[in-house]
Subunit: 252 residues, 2 copies
Amino acid sequence: MAKVLAFANQKGGVAKTTTTLNMGVALQEMGYKVLAVDMDPQGNLTMSLGLDPDQVRPSMYDVLVNGVGAEQALLRRELDVVVSSIDLAAAEIALSSIIGRERVLSKALLPLHDRYDYMVIDTPPSLGLLTINALTAADAVIVPVQCEYLSLRGLAQLEKTLELVRENLNPKVHIAGIVPTMYDSRTVHGREAVEVLRQNFGDLVFSTPIRKTIKFAEAPVKGESVLKYAPDSQAANAYRQLAREVLSGKKI
Amino acid sequence: MAKVLAFANQKGGVAKTTTTLNMGVALQEMGYKVLAVDMDPQGNLTMSLGLDPDQVRPSMYDVLVNGVGAEQALLRRELDVVVSSIDLAAAEIALSSIIGRERVLSKALLPLHDRYDYMVIDTPPSLGLLTINALTAADAVIVPVQCEYLSLRGLAQLEKTLELVRENLNPKVHIAGIVPTMYDSRTVHGREAVEVLRQNFGDLVFSTPIRKTIKFAEAPVKGESVLKYAPDSQAANAYRQLAREVLSGKKI
Ligand SMILES: Nc1ncnc2c1ncn2[C@@H]1O[C@H](COP(=O)(O)OP(=O)(O)OP(=O)(O)O)[C@@H](O)[C@H]1O
Ligand SMILES: Nc1ncnc2c1ncn2[C@@H]1O[C@H](COP(=O)(O)OP(=O)(O)OP(=O)(O)O)[C@@H](O)[C@H]1O
Ligand SMILES: [Mg+2]
Ligand SMILES: [Mg+2]
């Protein structure tokens, strides 16, 4: 059985997609077989791998709503990826009255488990049915948090939602850790934000903050991870370090 | 009748909340009476005005689902604001089977129209029912776009959704303009992103990009707009300039 990691935070723009992609590639570099899964209708993970969400057929919507095998929506790029497109936005309504609507993703991924060591799932900036499906399919959740005030506040709500998923749908799911992202050590605000995170969440906060650098915005233009786009950079090494920390901490 | 402006973009973290707040305060500084409306369950607009979303009762959920008057969920701070809390996340499901579910907000705001010149509505990072309610209530939409590649791609989808709202719910709603945000003129990536925006959207792009500065992250900690937190700053003046441009362009 592959280990399934979901990357979730309902706050927008905190580097969920960036962390899913680069963590996935870092695990693959270590020799693990990794599948990326795009559960965001924006298709940013699909896009970041150089694919056009408007052109991919079938996609995650077809897997969740039309019963198409996940294998049919899987493409090989820098990572193997189950792609998504904007159609996926309609899946929330299409699934809402179906029995077992929260388990549709975990059922769809089941046939792929024996081919991978890890699955990394990107989620949209909300706690709706698509994210709930990812949390139900996951062994553990990694929570990227931007090192800014507005982003610090939403974590209590994510924990409450996770508690509900644990009680009703998936007893094993837990927060593997919190990743401070877009960290700018030159600002007092950035340093204070990380301090607040460590005070409130202690060991749950991974020791490697991911520093702010424009390389993260440049890499998706080329359809590459930052590990491929700038392999020797501090940015790439931060995600390699994070992957090592996630594996060694046995939090997953 | 007040003019109603919605601030929308389903991409997360592009400065929707920041633009709603600072644009609202800039209009108020010019002497207009302004009401802020928080339609995001994260309650970031409520928070940015120094209020705790966990403590505010009643809030937007009660207005939309329990028929409480918007007046009851209105608090006076730097701006008058109809507050929201995480309960609002449950409104999408609660409203989904109600007749006229897309017009609930515009009906709720009707009694307040004669007391204000402008209403500014913040929306969550999605194109679900809460954002549709804001687009249905609005005269015009202002679209903040982060000057980075991943943020440029979602605009076509927003336009399609707006088209559906225009055809079925609100014939007058249109995009007043696109605001380039978090602009870093020192990076080639930033300059290219603005160039791409202007090539694709021409005059629709406001001439004032809002530059990246840590002041925008610092101001919400104090519960203040950047116009109050750093009144003589380039950041504050950028939003004053934007407000003048929005009013003079007669796009609203
Ligand atoms: N460490 C970093 N430094 C600078 N920029 C970053 C960093 N990580 C991500 N970014 C950039 O910030 C923007 C937001 O990141 P990303 O899209 O991964 O966030 P997200 O949480 O997935 O957003 P959404 O909520 O819309 O899904 C992107 O343009 C990305 O390139
Ligand atoms: N021009 C700017 N320069 C630097 N930081 C900014 C700027 N505008 C906003 N920010 C900061 O970027 C973060 C994201 O902004 P904001 O929360 O307003 O975006 P949003 O689109 O409302 O996010 P969400 O999609 O979660 O609702 C916040 O921490 C904010 O303080
Ligand atoms: Mg994303
Ligand atoms: Mg916001």
